[in-house]
Each structure stands twice: as structure tokens, then as C-alpha cells.
């Protein structure tokens, strides 16, 4: 993919995260806004209840994808800027980051979807 496309997705993921991470912070830290008393927000019952709601399914899947992409693209930027590395090493780093990104995404998506389905 072209560098400009990757960059535009990075900015888009950042903008999207402003919304979904805001929701996540809102739920976790100021539970009252979302109808959950703040002491209970980390109990298994509350987590289980939220897992079954389709609103949180969508929000968390988007947050997972956007967060991983934005973070790993930023990490790639930093690595590419710190040293003089040839195209072969660059391809290797791309591959590792893509593999790692998909790995974490599947792990997280499994937790989210399994929590919804069960």
C-alpha cells in the first residue's frame, strides 16, 4: 500500500479513536454517564452484561482495530526514522508489525465476539 494511504488511515484511526476511546473512558471511569455505578464497573457480572450488548460489540471491535492500527503505524514511523535501514529490513519490519497486529486483533476479536455470543 502506498505510504499516503497508510498515513491517511492512521489519521482516520486517530479521529475514530477520539470517539470510541472516549466512550470506553466514559464507561470505565465515569460509569454514571452510562448507567453503571462506578464501583461495579469492573465486576465480572457487569463485564459479562456489557459483553452481551451489541452496542459494545461494535464499539470495542472498532476500538481494537483503530487502536492497533494507529499504534503500530506510529511504531513503524519511529523505527523507520531512527536508523538508516535498507529496503530488505524495511520489508521485514513491515511483515513483523502486520503479523503482530493481526495476531493481537484476532486474540482481542475472539474475546469480544465470544463474549457476545455466549
Amino acid at each position: 500500500m502506498r505510504e499516503s494511504t497508510l498515513w491517511m488511515l492512521h489519521l482516520l484511526a486517530g479521529a475514530v479513536m477520539l470517539v470510541v476511546l472516549g466512550i470506553h473512558f466514559g464507561v470505565m471511569h465515569t460509569g454514571e454517564l452510562f448507567g453503571i455505578p462506578s464501583e461495579e464497573v469492573l465486576t465480572f457480572a457487569s463485564v459479562d452484561a456489557r459483553s452481551g450488548m451489541s452496542f459494545y460489540l461494535v464499539v470495542y471491535l472498532i476500538l481494537l482495530a483503530a487502536g492497533l492500527y494507529h499504534g503500530l503505524y506510529g511504531l513503524r514511523s519511529i523505527i523507520f526514522e531512527i536508523s538508516f535501514i535498507g529496503p530488505g529490513v524495511r520489508k521485514a519490519i513491515n511483515f513483523i508489525l502486520v503479523l503482530g497486529g493481526w495476531g493481537f486483533f484476532f486474540y482481542g476479536a475472539y474475546a469480544i465476539i465470544a463474549g457476545f455470543v455466549v
Binding site: 502506498r2 499516503s4 491517511m8 514511523s77 523507520f80 538508516f84 524495511r90
Partner: protein, 285 residues
């Protein structure tokens, strides 16, 4: 800052100023080292004047680049007290004369000798973004029939970025250049915008190979230090962000640019008698 220093420097009349200059002779030295020189300042002395005085009276082996001594050629860019300046435009009275003035070669360039940086990669990067008007109507470029029409407003869109004197101070300030040897650099990116924003040019596509690469424009994160360092007010960081917008418009929104047409000579207008005709072409077809 200069007012405070002028007051302090009034007490400094007649005393000597200490200069700490980085020296490096590749044939003799393993690594650069600092050498101190004491100099009696004169009224209106610039850092370049001081270096020339040192070279004339104390150490003739001191090397530096200089040419116009009036801030237009860009040869004498160097780090003075940690900030990239044109030595000919920097009065020593700007600094606290009781403290040492430290002069180093421009950061982020290899050192050739003493205060002389190696600018070859800098020039190469500038050439790689094709710093000339690119158009599809090559016949008009080869055999011009008239001038291209450009209004004063269209000129204002890019003329600020044409003031670049290629001194290299912006690359010394850029944090990406500090770590990335292959970064295109603020000078080349601004020069690219100067041509992209020029209404006569339609060469964004050709330049994108360099601009859109892994070390191209997307490695700029708007630290703004290049604009602070630029001695001619070119404001490279503004040019680069505007170029990002142009690339976004081109890639995502698909905006195509219609380049400036050849200016039409108005119909039914006669030439005044006292205006001479153009001379005969001396270049044969």
C-alpha cells in the same frame, strides 16, 4: 533578549570575547575538538566578521564557507550557541559577551572540515524532487510562443517558498533529520511545494515517487523548528503541511490541476511605436 544583552554588553566595552570553535582536519584528527580564541569585538561585528578576524590574525587554518556576507547566498550557515544561523547576519552583541560564544558546523550534516558541512546529500535530495516546472505540453516549453498567464494572487500562493537560499539551516533544526539520514528534508519538501503550488506546473504525479516514499513527506510531524531556523522567512513547515493537503486532494479527492495556459495577446491592439521589436532569434531551430 537583545535589549538585555545590549545593556550587559555596554559594560563589556574594550574587553575581549571568547569564541569556542569546533575544529576538525580529516587528515590529521580522529575526532573533532574545540579550540578557543579571544577576540576584541568591534562595533557591529558579526560572527562571520569574528571568524574572518580570527583567520587573519590568529589561525589561518580555520575553514568556513562564506561569500556574499549579506545574508543572500546561504554559504555561512552554522550553529551559533546551539541554533542554526547565518553567521553574516548574526551580531555578536546579540549574545551575552561575558560568556563564550560557541560556533559549530551545521548539525545533521557530515563535517568536511572545521565549520564546513558536506552538503552533497542535501543537494541530491533537492534535485530528486525535480525543482523545475513540469508540464505536459512540452512543445510550448521547447519552443515558447508566449508567457504563461499567472495572476498576482496565484503568485502569492507560492512566492514565499521561492525565497529559499538553500543554506541548509532547516535540516539542522529538523528533529526527523537528527535521526533519519534518508529523510527528504524540509528544504526539498518546501521546494516541491513551491512547484506544486505554482499554477504553471502540473508535475505532482512525477514528484510523488519521492514525496510518497517511506522517507518522504509523511515522516514530517510538524515540529515547526525548520520555520524557526529559516533566515529568510520561507516558513518551510507551512509549505510542507500545505503540500500534505495537496497530496490528500490529489489522492483522496481526485482533484486534478489545470495548469496555467499561455497568455493570450489581446486582439486588435497595436504596438506603440517607441517600443522596439524583440531581437532576432539567435538559437536555430
Amino acid at each position: 533578549m537583545s535589549e538585555k544583552n545590549t545593556k550587559a554588553n555596554q559594560d563589556h566595552v574594550g574587553k575581549e570575547v571568547m569564541f569556542r570553535v569546533l575544529r576538525y582536519d580529516p587528515d590529521k584528527d580522529i575526532a573533532p575538538y574545540f579550540q578557543s580564541f579571544k577576540l576584541k569585538p568591534e562595533h557591529g561585528m558579526t560572527v562571520l566578521d569574528a571568524l574572518m578576524r580570527i583567520k587573519e590574525t590568529q589561525d589561518p587554518s580555520l575553514s568556513y564557507r562564506k561569500s556574499c556576507r549579506m545574508g543572500i547566498c546561504g554559504s555561512c550557515a552554522m550553529m551559533v550557541n546551539g541554533f542554526p544561523e547565518l553567521a553574516c547576519q548574526t551580531q555578536i552583541s546579540e549574545y551575552d559577551l561575558d560568556k563564550t560564544i560557541e560556533v559549530r558546523p551545521l548539525a545533521n550534516y557530515p563535517i568536511l572540515r572545521d565549520l564546513v558541512p558536506d552538503l552533497r546529500d542535501f543537494i541530491r535530495m533537492h534535485e530528486s524532487i525535480k525543482p523545475y516546472i513540469l508540464r505536459r505540453d512540452t512543445e510550448e516549453l521547447d519552443k515558447p510562443t508566449g508567457e504563461f498567464a499567472q495572476s498576482p494572487e496565484e503568485l502569492e500562493r507560492y512566492v514565499q517558498f521561492a525565497y529559499c537560499i538553500k543554506c541548509g539551516a532547516c535540516l539542522a533544526a529538523c528533529p526527523t533529520n537528527a535521526t533519519d539520514v534518508n529523510f527528504t528534508g524540509p528544504q526539498a519538501l518546501t521546494a516541491a511545494y513551491r512547484y506544486v503550488a505554482d499554477s504553471r506546473d502540473e508535475g505532482l504525479e512525477e514528484r510523488l515517487a519521492v514525496l510518497d516514499g517511506p522517507n518522504g513527506i509523511w515522516r514530517c510531524h510538524y515540529a515547526g523548528a525548520c520555520s524557526e531556523a529559516c533566515p529568510k522567512g520561507v516558513d518551510p513547515s507551512l509549505g510542507i503541511q500545505l503540500l500534505k493537503r495537496e497530496i490528500f486532494n490529489y489522492r483522496v479527492l481526485g482533484k486534478k490541476k489545470r495548469p496555467a495556459p499561455v497568455a493570450e495577446t489581446p486582439e486588435g491592439v497595436e504596438r506603440r511605436e517607441d517600443i522596439p521589436q524583440a531581437p532576432e532569434k539567435t538559437v536555430l531551430e
